[in-house]
Symmetry: C3
Subunit: 645 residues, 3 copies
């Protein structure tokens, strides 16, 4: 189903009814409102102004739209900040940040938690049982603008409490962090500081615990809101809109308190921020990289335990990326169908109408600032019409699992060891390799059951907990483990038995040395799979196993024991493409190398094919397939949908 983000407070009341009617006419079902409206709801401290929101909801609901109401906590009003300046966050440089943007609060602030409790309670009390309000969004894009990690005194105190909780005794912390090194021993939790502005680099265990704590604080803050909403709004769903390429936060943990996950899909801006060559950046400037939205759909479907929305879908050029081109004609429709193909329950466009003032005035909407329909509107209209005639089958489990671990991003952010090492980069390389072979993917967190998957890819999992190990053990399919897997204990130490630590239970091998390579330095690995020049990262492995691929010096690059494989190097796209092709085939899947720009995704027995390229593409449909959308020849920026026999 389709929805839209709407800000009645930005427009004259006289326009609301017309807008609501047009939404309905366009075929929209949901409308999200209210998530930045605190100063409008409480213009003076303690003086609530509900009238406008009452009327807005009544108007929207009156036209049959289902309202998703956002809590307004991402934007505390000026009067609140002036009364309690300590709610403002302190950045890594030690500077107290200021009012004037958004997200200007610290998650640890007791005052802000209390104020949150107050405003969310008032809101939930008033609208929690309103028949037109079907659900709530908590806050907005937690962590945006680098706000997960705050360095204020309140955070310091909370972090010390968190550590006390975790370690019990300070000597346990000293052991875990190895504070015997560099005389960093603490005598009491109260001595521990936040890890910033240190003269030399901070202790990595200290950093990792702080990153965990900061993520936990956001979760606790969110739970505070959820509990209020559950109390006042029984039966209504609660969700939150996560972001793309954002790792400061563990979305799996936070979403345990939600009914489903949402995310905000801006394929062009996300692509402009990716480390691409100029050639690729130009090629995908108007379509986004073909896997950027799909990756996040799969990620947030997992985060939402099978359920997710696209809460904000890019409808045209945006304002916040270094470059903001117009999407190629057709892309708004294509992105919508890509989301639906991946199981999105709702795709909601951001936003109904471009606002002519303030920070986001250059962000397109479905309507232009003058209220007339913009390009996106017509593409949405087409999707809405197409949807009418179709009843989408439920999404099935994918044959391939990709293990994604938010904590891994923190580990490698803290200790890249080679300047180009990027966890997200590696994950994306695995993901895109699968997509280019036409394979559907389930992204799963470490420890999730893997029995149902024919193939399990683990780009890297530095910290392997018991649950993850058990899941690998119980997996029935082939498990490919990437470099640096098992390289750290939970305390951020090298395992006593050396990497891959507990994974040695699966494969008899030991990583005895690792090295990062500067750009341009590559070593050739060779074997039955072929000959591949590999750079960036290499490991020295001791193992009784004969490597499947070996470097010139005889050291192995790839090992296999039964259904487990270990990659002892950063794979090139060529190597990974070949390896995954072979493993998928062996696993009984039907990998299909796709031409550049073409991608597939199944939903039940329906197969979608998306053409991100500038030239027509041939749909890889069987002879005589029944096309539900499009046909065998897919025009540029278009799609085809057929039913599998």
């Amino acid at each position: 189903m389709l929805g839209v983000c709407y800000y009645p407070e930005h427009w004259p009341k006289e326009r609301w009814k017309e807008d609501a009617q047009r939404m309905r006419a366009l075929g929209l079902t949901y409308v999200r409102i209210g998530e930045f409206a605190w100063a409008l709801l409480e213009p003076e401290p303690g003086q609530l102004a509900w009238d406008w929101l009452d009327e807005a909801i009544a108007t929207l609901a009156g036209e049959g739209l289902k309202v998703v109401l956002g809590t307004p906590t991402a934007t505390p009003p000026k009067w609140l900040v002036d009364r309690h300046p300590e709610i403002l966050p302190v950045d890594r440089e030690g500077r107290r940040r200021r009012f004037g943007g958004r997200r200007h609060y610290c998650f640890s602030s007791p005052v802000y938690r209390e104020e949150t409790r107050r405003i969310v309670s008032l809101l939930a009390e008033r609208y929690g049982r309103h028949p037109g309000v079907v659900g709530f969004q908590t806050d907005n894009e937690y962590g945006c603008h680098g706000t997960v990690r705050c360095y204020c005194p309140r955070c310091r105190a909370a972090f010390q409490g968190w550590l006390r909780e975790r370690y019990g005794e300070v000597e346990a912390l000293n052991r875990a962090w190895g504070t015997v090194f560099w005389s960093q021993r603490y005598r009491d939790f109260a001595e521990v500081e936040l890890p910033h502005l240190t003269v030399a680099e901070a202790n990595p265990s200290h950093l990792l615990d702080y990153y965990r704590f900061a993520s936990d604080q956001v979760r606790a803050y969110n739970r505070l809101q959820v509990e209020i909403l559950r109390a006042f709004a029984p039966g209504k769903f609660v969700t939150h809109n996560f972001m793309g390429f954002f790792t400061d936060l563990d979305p799996f943990a936070l979403a345990e308190d939600l009914d489903f996950a949402s995310w905000d899909s801006y394929p062009l801006g996300l692509t402009d921020l990716m480390p691409l060559s100029q050639e690729e950046r130009v090629r995908y400037a108007r379509t986004g990289h073909p896997d950027v939205a799909a990756f996040h759909h799969d990620l947030y479907r997992a985060v939402g335990r099978g359920r997710f929305w696209v809460m904000e879908q890019q409808p045209g050029p945006v304002n916040w990326a270094p470059h903001n081109p117009s999407p190629a004609p057709g892309m708004v429709r294509l992105w919508t169908w890509e989301a639906l193909a991946h199981g999105a329950e709702v795709v909601s466009y951001f936003r109904w109408r471009q606002v002519p003032f303030a920070q986001e005035q250059m962000h397109a909407g479905l309507h232009r600032p003058d209220g007339l329909p913009d390009q996106g509107f017509f593409e949405v209209k087409r999707v809405a019409e197409e949807l009418k005639g179709l009843s989408l089958p439920p999404s099935a489990r994918a044959p391939v699992a990709l293990v994604y671990d938010p904590e891994a991003a923190w580990v490698f952010e803290i200790q890249p060891q080679g300047a180009e090492w990027s966890y997200l980069g590696l994950v994306y390389l695995f993901y895109t390799t699968l997509r280019r072979l036409g394979l559907d993917v389930d992204i799963v967190p470490p420890g999730a059951p893997l029995e149902g998957y024919a193939l399990v890819l683990v780009p890297s999992l530095p910290i392997v907990r018991e649950a993850a190990l058990n899941a690998f053990r119980e997996a029935k399919g082939i498990v490919l483990l990437g470099p640096r897997s098992g390289s750290k204990t939970e305390a951020f130490q090298i395992p006593e038995n050396l990497p891959p630590g507990p994974l040695q239970a699966l494969l008899p091998l030991k990583v005895v040395r690792v090295e990062s390579l500067p750009p341009g330095l590559e070593e050739v690995a060779e074997g039955a799979l072929g000959r591949f020049a590999l750079g960036l990262w290499r490991e020295w492995v001791e193992s009784p196993l004969a490597p499947l691929l070996a470097f010139g010096d005889g050291r192995g690059a790839l090992f296999r024991e039964g259904r487990y494989l270990y990659l002892a190097a950063w794979p090139s796209p060529e190597l990974l493409g070949r390896l995954v092709l072979d493993l998928a085939s062996e696993a009984g899947l039907k990998p299909l190398p796709l031409p550049e720009g073409l991608r597939l995704r199944r939903r039940g027995r329906w197969v979608f094919a998306f053409n991100y390229g500038p030239a027509p593409a041939q749909a890889p449909a069987p002879e005589g397939a029944r096309f539900l959308l499009g046909g065998p020849r897919i025009p540029p920026y278009d799609l085809a949908l057929w039913e599998e026999a």
Copy 2:
């Protein structure tokens, strides 16, 4: 006429007379002194030491030199800073900056304004009626080192007052800024902060008002000085020396209080700071880009309402650019003549003698540190001799106007929307296009009368006020409007009728979408003018007009209605060169595409041709022209001057 900057306080008194005699002998008329001498004039608080300055002025005037006296406020002494540390500015990062350089004061500081009043009054009282002192320079290079915008508490209070003045009621501010967005509503002007260290980007209207305020503060500060000088020094001129490629300040507004404008011309340093290719940077390393000085001459002639000086002319290598090469032999003379050709009343060299100590010890002068003449000296000598035989005719109005708007620089600095968008870059592209066609240019601020111009170029004018619109209406010539013109209201909002807002009165068109393109992404526009690959910026226009140039998707890139043209894209040099050539021809001008490195400029009926290139060039003089300087073959780094029939 020629002049020089001199620091008697740097040299033994014994040398002063000899220096003065040598200045006179060299043919100099003016000598600027005193602008950093506060600590010398007032070595202890309240104890004035005039003797040395009395004597220096007497010595210089005794040799017939006309003294320009600088007020010494750019360098408050240490004792003053220690007594009033609050005069020190606070930077964007929130750091109070320190004594030890120059310009270490905040324009809003009441204490500093009072101290300024005191020292300038004392100085003006003593020398205002001195016959040897012909005029004053206020302060020195306002805004240098990023000092226009300060973030101290005094600035905050002053900004709130400025807003109160501007908006009257806080709700007017709320409407203008659109504070309904992101709950940024203010209940009182006293709630408004300076726009820095915000967590997300600050509101653009907030930023623009702050930039306007900061520029206004400098103007008010300068006016304080001017009023004192007017009172104590009747009949003496007052000027200020502005800088190149500097946009934090509105020089037009500030100069309303001055008798004429001055600027400090450092072509090599300015060129090193330009975003050129390495090939261009190398080509112009010793000459400066051929339009860099000319552009500023034209700009400051406008700022000075027809009158300007070059107060500081580069005489050799300087110290402050990333690279500081020696000018090609002849360039000091060429630059001087370029300034005179553009109407400079005086060209004054910085400085008489290279000082061997402190921050600028690596900055050349007309003399070496050891007191002997340096290269520049001999070139100045030649100019002085050439000037003797010539009586320059007055400058005439140019046939082409280029509309330049300091506020536009602020708008696009706040909201580039594409990383490569640069207002100065676009203006310079238009300017250099005109110069390469041999056309003289008047730079004019928006709103200035345009009747006399055959051709009016507006690189971009985002905010179109009534006066500017009327000037366009009353223009008799062709008016070319660049992209993003009319795209913002005065309050930094998108106009209700969409861009180009009020300009729709001139051309029936509406910009319904804009997009910025990453480097390498270009779209081809084609039409009678030719075929051009355009990048960086493109607009989608709805118009009944048939475009003169259209992109592959049919959207127009260039529109025309009568004498008005609108460019809906960032022009390539090729497109702009061709378009301006055609428009100038149509306007009855005689554009003449010049070879690389050759430039023309007329002063009355005199035509100057400047050869910035390393090879001889042919002067485009008519058969039998009378040469006043040089001849038909212009050697490298040389010039020719002939009289037009």
Copy 3:
């Protein structure tokens, strides 16, 4: 002899004896311990815990190892920092830095000096006469992490005292700094601030004095430790471990208080930080640049007045460079022999065993984290065996002196005048030129006697004091002076007689102008030596001498008067290679242009040849030479040693 760095506190006591035995068995003589152990030695304020260290020393000494004991002052414990937060340094941005890394103290802090006196006295009292302890290392890597220069109030006060000491009267300071410029005059030393956060650039004399002061503070701090150690540990040596490519500190001055110098040799990390082309970076990624260790051996041999150790030798991949590759097989041995060839008395590996926790967990040791021998171990074993059979002759004076001046690095850091000017870059260019000609080099500080050298190279010596001038006068060999030599007085002013100032006593020439050139701008200089394109820096010289090389405009690039040469430009590698080849030949040396990657070094009559390249190389040994190690064909990453007749 060989040694190792060991941290008994990181490992269970049970392992100590085995480790000690294995050290002995490996052939090690020395073991450095204790330098980060303060929190272990004094777990609570005033409560000393000597037991573990007593036992560790007893165990190591019991196996015959000689213990070098580090003072633990680089890592003050948390309780100390909490009691005296003012010991934390303040950085250039004005931020008080925090506990959590190392080197978190200010050298000027009276409290920290007192605490230092206390802990060092206690340590020295306990172990100063211990027979197993043969010497001490003060602190660790002074200045690492940018800690030489602190901007705290204590430093400000100390700097004012230092200035008072230096100048006596404030007017002397005013004259020396030229504070008449920009009204910077001081009325009292108490007015002087630390030179940071100034609005415009700070006065260069001010900066230079501050850099001198900061270096002096480290020396004074170190002397405090040395005096205690001398008192309590008579007859035991005292050293300090300096760093590579580090210029904030004057090591010559500091080492006057030491018995010999040490340095920490990490060829791969240092190479990764060098400004190399990608091609070079890849070529030397696994060997280090062939001159990077040699340069520092020669430097610290000079700093140690002929005596030096490598206190920390890289044994495998490290953790702190942008890229951390594994050394090519053989390099640990090669590096060791290179050090010994240069006269190192001891080469001590960092570290015995890779520690699995905290900041340096990714830094290899001779053993893996699991305690088994790593690659480096086996190479050390081979060296130890090779050493058994050899008795190294004493190092002789080299035939060539390279004058290296720490103060020059400060001068050019303060005033590069061209963005690419780098003092270390220029010095390294001279050094590598000599090495590629097979010449041994003594690095000497300015003012050191030069009589014994056939050739003296002075890459640049901006400040030429009397002693240095006299040394040049008394030199018997050829003296080549590089650009900007003699360009500044001790007070950082341009000399009255212009550069090269006092050097004009050696060559009749005067630099009347200098220029820095942007990348790509080169001028061709030609003469009997050949034709060379020179960039980056050029000087205009007035001289009665006919230049040996002249630019196209006739200006000289190279001058000679008797045995003195002056280079008036930044030399290209080609020019310098040719010039040094000729001068060395003229001086009676036997320069031998070596193939890429091959290097020589003599020790007495023994000649070492090192092959840093990936292919075998021919040893340039005379027919029938007696090889002590290797043979005429040197395998990759290997060496040969023969005795000269």
